[in-house]
């Protein structure tokens, strides 16, 4: 498959791994920000081939994982109590809230559907004018433009039954939070290539400068990731701390101006609670006028009363900011498995705990 196979070439992988280990004069800790990267790393055992010199920490870039419990509980209540159709991306529907996941709500009469694109939810609303349709909008700057397009269509068509429960998050504030957290030690970041495809790399310049940390916008295939690590190691070894682009086949420094304009038209930046991490200042997006008319909180004002408290069993927060590696969690693989997740990182295929559980080669030891 073009643009896939060449980035999974075993020879290239081995060559890059050897180059990284040779170039590093000491041990470095690199955090990949995005769950898609985590998935690829653990699926292919990339952390093992460079373990001699590099520790990989898995960042908070799983939008499914950081969606607040409250949002999930609200979506579930909407599905069960209002007769609305609730829809979202597939993996979002299996994340546990306080009283079970959204897919499970179907067994209790909720109309919960998987959609593959936000526009499908708009079409659904147009087809069912008698019923509210709520799209649970999650994701980073990558998925937000598609939601912005959907919001625009819904407004144009004056679909009064289309609502958005928005939980979009932004990457740069999370990186700042991790770099300044007392218990995290990260020497370099691999930024998420697809987020940079939309947003460009300018937002990362002040973070690299302020914390003296190399940031490499990196792709998702094994060769991409190892090349990103090699670029980060080169910076670390030479004392540099700048923003570089590994994922050059998709990322331009200015990003995608059309998508950015769309985001700016529909959303504005706001503080946002991240599940397991806490409120990240400027860490999310909310609808701005006139699009705020489709905010689900307006259609279902009682949502504001829904507060959820997180029980104490899961240490997802520490995992999400790289302070705890999944296998080191006392519940990992014991009380917490993909079939019985204690927290979101064990559910989504982007989640660090699930990625480890599915692929972890160390669990192959007798």
């Amino acid at each position: 498959m073009k643009l896939v196979d060449e980035f999974r070439d075993p020879e290239l992988i081995r060559g890059l791994a050897a180059r990284i280990v040779r170039r590093a004069t000491r041990h470095w800790t690199v955090m990949e920000v995005c769950g898609g990267q985590t998935h690829s790393i653990v699926e292919n055992g990339l952390d093992e081939v460079i373990a001699e010199r590099i520790t990989l920490l898995h960042g908070p870039g799983c939008p499914v994982c950081v969606t607040p419990l409250e949002t999930l509980d609200r979506a579930r209540r909407i599905a069960l109590e209002t007769g609305a159709i609730v829809c979202s991306f597939g993996d979002m529907l299996r994340v546990p809230g306080s009283r079970g996941d959204l897919l499970g709500a179907r067994a209790y009469g909720g109309d919960v559907r998987v959609v593959y694109a936000p526009l499908d939810a708009v079409r659904l609303a147009a087809r069912t004018p008698e019923r509210p349709v709520v799209f649970l909008a999650v994701g980073f700057e990558t998925t937000a433009p598609a939601v912005a397009v959907a919001a625009r269509f819904a407004l144009q068509q004056q679909l009064e039954n289309f609502h958005l429960l928005v939980s979009h998050v932004r990457v740069p504030p999370a990186l700042e939070a991790i770099a300044s957290a007392p218990d995290a030690h990260v020497d370099a970041f691999l930024a998420a290539g697809h987020v940079c495809t939309i947003m460009g790399t300018a937002e990362y310049e002040p973070i690299a400068a302020r914390f003296g940390i190399p940031i490499v916008a990196t792709g998702f295939e094994p060769v991409d990731i190892l090349e990103g690590i090699a670029m980060a190691v080169e910076q670390l070894e030479t004392g540099a701390a700048k923003v570089e682009i590994q994922y050059a086949r998709a990322v331009r420094p200015a990003g995608n101006p059309i998508a950015r304009a769309m985001l700016a038209e529909v959303f504005e930046i706001a503080d946002r609670p991240w599940r397991g991490i806490g409120v990240v200042p400027r860490g999310g997006l909310v609808l701005r006028p006139p699009y705020d008319v489709m905010d689900a909180a307006r259609a279902f004002p009682w949502l504001e009363d829904e507060t959820s408290t997180e029980p104490q069993q899961c240490r997802a927060g520490e995992v999400l900011r790289g302070a705890l590696r999944p296998p080191s969690c006392p519940e990992y693989g014991r009380r917490c498995t993909p079939d019985h997740p204690l927290g979101a990182p064990m559910v989504s295929s982007e989640g660090a705990c699930a990625a480890y559980f599915h692929y972890r080669a160390t669990s192959l030891a007798p």
Partner: protein
């Protein structure tokens, strides 16, 4: 601007424990972990018996004083949409049960057909489905000899559900079931994986896409006879339907109490199926095939078995994908990067990923 973390959030990083469901969810039907838990916790304790305990695609039991054996299997089909590239619910229902018999090493004697029809189903659709069943049965040289029809109110079914059951005769000396699998056995597949699953996805509402994919739905009896002729010592056969190859390897490894190691680069997957999986974030290892089989054969017979499969029209792209290993039951994948990873069953139906 300075960014600070919420102190309380940092001190109490946590996630909730989900409540276990006390109702049936779609995961219970997905052929993976939840399905086997349903069997182990609800069905097996009540139905427990030696024949069922073999955990094969069908039951094989003695049926005569001279040691004759019959194989018996049933399967219900609820596929949506009911017509898809390469087949429909009718041909699928015939192939599915005939293949279960074939996986027991049995030659089919007769099939039953039970239809659950929803009020409002166009008769023309029913005629097409039934004609397709008759054609599929005739191609396998077997008759549909008994049946039943029920109609449910509109809204209480999905157009048509089909159940088939089949009885077959197991020739003397043939013993194929998971318990015969041994460490060192070679694992072969008869063709590319996941064509059926991808074909059904390609016409499912919301993700229709143009792709050169058709279901692989086919009767495997001829291929299996051909394989038995070449390798009478065949240890086990299984068709990777619901849950795909991944689920089959787990079931067989679990039943045989052995480890299974497969080589990622040896897995045959057609290019359009790979593309769809990449786009939707699915793993072809868990997509259904309806006209492929997985064969476990002694190492010394591996080459002969592979040659036999490849010399049959349905096995032209057969491949050896791995080896059975001693050790605790688990499925290990050797990656292209040369590392090893565990293959676990997905929690439910494969869901497309957000990004």
């Amino acid at each position: 601007m300075t960014t600070k973390l919420d102190v309380q959030g940092l001190a109490n990083p946590s996630c909730p424990a989900p409540t276990e469901t006390d109702r049936i969810t779609l995961s219970h039907g997905a052929g993976a972990g939840a399905t086997s838990r349903l069997f182990e916790t609800i069905l097996w304790p009540q139905f427990r018996n030696d024949t069922l305990g073999v955990r094969h695609d069908g039951a094989v039991f003695p049926a005569g004083p001279a040691g004759e054996r019959l194989a018996f299997s049933t399967d219900t089909f609820v596929v949506h949409p009911i017509e898809f590239p390469g087949g429909d619910i009718g041909s699928l229902a015939v192939h599915g049960t005939l293949n279960d018999l074939a996986m027991c090493g049995a030659e089919p004697l007769g099939l039953s057909c039970a239809l659950i029809l929803e009020e409002g189903l166009p008769l023309a659709t029913l005629e097409r489905i039934v004609a397709s069943m008759a054609q599929a049965a005739a191609a396998a040289g077997v008759a549909i000899v008994t049946g039943d029809t029920k109609v449910v109110e509109r809204g209480k079914g999905d157009g048509i559900y089909v159940n088939t059951a089949g009885v077959g005769r197991v020739p003397d000396g043939r013993v194929v079931h998971p318990g015969r699998v041994r460490a060192g056995d070679a694992i072969l597949v008869s063709g590319p994986l996941g064509d059926h699953g991808a074909a059904v996805l390609s016409v499912r509402e919301g993700i229709e896409f143009d792709a050169d994919i058709a279901s692989d739905s086919a009767w495997l009896g001829g291929l299996v006879e051909h394989l038995f002729n070449a390798v009478p010592e065949l240890h086990c056969l299984r068709d990777p339907t619901r849950g795909g190859l991944g689920a089959v390897l787990h079931e067989i490894g679990g039943a045989a109490q052995l480890a299974i190691e497969i080589d990622e680069s040896a897995l045959p997957v057609r290019e359009p199926v790979r593309v769809i999986c990449e786009l939707l974030g699915l793993d072809p290892l868990f997509l259904a095939s309806e006209g492929r089989c997985v064969a476990f054969v002694p190492e010394r017979d591996a080459e002969r078995a592979l040659a036999a499969l490849r010399s049959h029209a349905l096995g032209a792209h057969a491949a050896r994908i791995g080896t059975v290993q001693p050790g605790p039951p688990r499925v290990v994948v050797r990656t292209r990067a040369g590392t090893r990873r565990l293959l676990l069953l997905p929690a439910g139906d494969p869901l497309p990923r957000i990004c």
